[in-house]
Symmetry: C2
Subunit: 352 residues, 2 copies
DNA sequence: CGCCGGCCTTGAATCGTTTTATCGCGGCGG
DNA sequence: CCGCCGCGATAAAACGATTCAAGGCCGGCG
């Protein structure tokens, strides 16, 4: 950055390279490089002279040249499924904070839940010879990720538990436990006719959360197949939740579920809205539980009971695993598993 | 990407370069480069042979080498103030979609509203010799941005209207008009005792929205200084909104505002929550208007009346301006201004 | 038949940095 | 006094792609 605060916009400057700095400081380019990368190997006086020259010329390192020669790059990729989803952005914040501390730059890429865009993103990272990547995979097909690893770019999976440890590190949350907690909560409130409002079953998380819910039923002596009805929606957003209301209420008031457990908060928020429109009150007429505990869950009225995941911490942990893989020669792949916690608010209450 | 779908994880492969491809195709490296960058200059047959070799060897271009020599880079930066804010992520989506169409990669950087992080991000872009940047500046100090431009990296400002056109392109929304629309709406409902719940006044948007609100008062024959009370908060998030409730209600029921206009939706959501906790009903007791019209505004209960900005379109437009600056030699800086629109929902109603 | 021009292709120079082998120098031990 | 060692600094060879001047080939025209 400029030494003097704000200069009048003068013509575009010819870029200054390491050689020019060297000339100015009266040393060789190699020495400048050493000052930049291994300052301890340079004598105090020389180092100071070089740093002075760097400041005076306002030299900025060219990372192309640098990473071309060294083979290394100091940026890592982060591929998220949806930049507009609060869950992912919170995770991204964690990844970023940890990376910044380690002096790495994060290239945030959005796969928009589309395999082709994930593919593009991975290819970009390969072209950039990125140091590594944190990836929330778009589906169960990891072949592109193996392709990336073959090229020497290692990755950590986020939010996908099914990866055998020998393929790479991973961070996930126990979705079964989350479903179980939600189920126990609802059952303890006296609800026996439940609906699981799911996203696509292709998504492992949805399946696991449902399994947890069923386990809670079994545990309480309820027959899971009878107690839990499942409504599957093709997406995990609010619109899908709102549109699901008919399917959820299908069968008339007598068969209406006493409680709905949603695969994520956005579905739940959409559903709540539609229920309200129809004059069905939450929690008086129906209890609703969400998943993720995004910020707005506490802001809506009624406050949404939700299964919380340590989003920010998951991001940090993933980045830490990646850093370990990059720096620690004795690294072994590892799978970290977080525990979800139920946050009870106003959208659930005892059966009338 | 691999031609064959999924190979068993074999040892890390030695990277294949342009030379190897050339050898395989029986041509010179220069020709391979031409196939990659100016295919029309290469004879049909040769081109095919080279492409075949590329596929067989699964060659991936090394962007370090490429941009080192050419001076160009095919990635652009996008610096947002807060990755977790829905307004920004929606804008980011627009920027990204437009960039992808143009074959550019987007490096998304989060300044977290902190000048030092914005500085870091700009420096990173300088080191990477990025093609350009779309920036939502963290404050009014543009000296670092000038510094960037001096280095030949051009930028487009987003959501900041005060930049003289000769310094760079910009995209903004008419905040005064937004405040005016909100004010007219509230006044037409009969409200005369208004409060503006603001973020930091250092942020131009807040000031302009307030000015618009005042203009609406003046227009209706109300004395702005008497009709509008202002509550300033240091941040623009929900927590700040929730904590503002006391200041908003200060003075007892008699002096309680009939309507509150909030500088953004998150403030409004926080405020709504706190009002609800105190048993104050919206819109019966107090009308509330937000700003930005983020997704959840329509999901909360009551639905939040809000001033909508064309978030996604703003992102696209910003990227288009940047592309024009990069590709069009006769480019002249331009300032695009969008118009906000008021979206009326349930959080505002006529004075009782 | 010779020359010219257009189309493809080539070879070599080049981008800015890192790295490695080498060198000069002064001090220390033998 | 000599040789050796180690510290600091240097020069030159990479890294992988792009670019550009130059050359080869072919067909057409004079």
């Amino acid at each position: 950055m400029p030494a003097t605060t704000s200069q009048p916009p003068s013509g575009p400057r010819r870029p200054v390279g390491i050689g020019e700095v060297a000339a100015r400081a009266g040393v060789s380019p190699g020495t400048v490089s050493n000052v930049l990368n291994r300052p301890e190997r340079v004598a105090e006086a020389t180092r100071r002279r070089v740093q002075e020259a760097i400041r005076e010329l306002d030299y900025v390192r060219n990372s192309s040249g640098s990473s071309l020669r060294s083979g290394r790059s100091d940026s890592v990729g982060l591929i998220v499924l949806d930049v507009t989803n609060p869950f992912f952005t919170e995770v991204a914040r964690g990844v970023e904070d940890e990376a910044v501390e380690a002096g790495l730059a994060v290239i945030l890429l959005n796969s928009a839940e589309r395999p082709d865009r994930q593919r593009r993103s991975l290819r970009l990272l390969a072209e950039q010879r990125a140091a590594g990547a944190v990836v929330m995979p778009v589906d169960d097909d990891l072949s592109d990720l193996h392709w990336l690893r073959q090229r020497g770019i290692s990755w950590v999976l986020l939010d996908r538990g099914d990866v055998a440890a020998q393929e790479g590190c991973g961070v996930s949350v126990d979705n079964h436990a989350g479903g179980l907690a939600a189920g126990r909560h609802l059952i303890s409130l006296g609800h026996e006719r439940l609906t699981f409002l799911s996203g696509p079953f292709a998504i492992e998380q949805c399946r696991d959360r449902l399994a947890g819910l069923r386990a809670a039923c079994a545990e309480a002596g309820l027959e899971p197949d009878a107690a839990v009805r499942v409504v599957e929606r093709p997406q995990l957003n609010a619109r899908a939740g709102a549109e699901a209301v008919e399917a959820v209420l299908a069968g008339g008031p007598r068969r209406r579920p006493q409680a709905v457990f949603c695969a994520n908060d956005q579905l739940a928020l959409g559903l709540l809205k539609s229920l309200g429109r129809r004059g069905i009150r939450t929690p008086d007429d129906i209890s609703v539980v969400g998943y993720d505990d995004i910020d707005v869950a506490s802001l809506v009225h009624p406050g949404l009971t939700s299964v919380a995941q340590p989003k920010y911490e998951m991001g940090r942990a993933a980045m830490r695993l990646l850093l370990s893989e990059l720096n620690d020669p004795g690294h072994r792949h590892e799978r970290l598993r977080f525990e979800p916690t139920l946050v009870v608010r106003d959208s659930t209450s005892a059966r009338r």
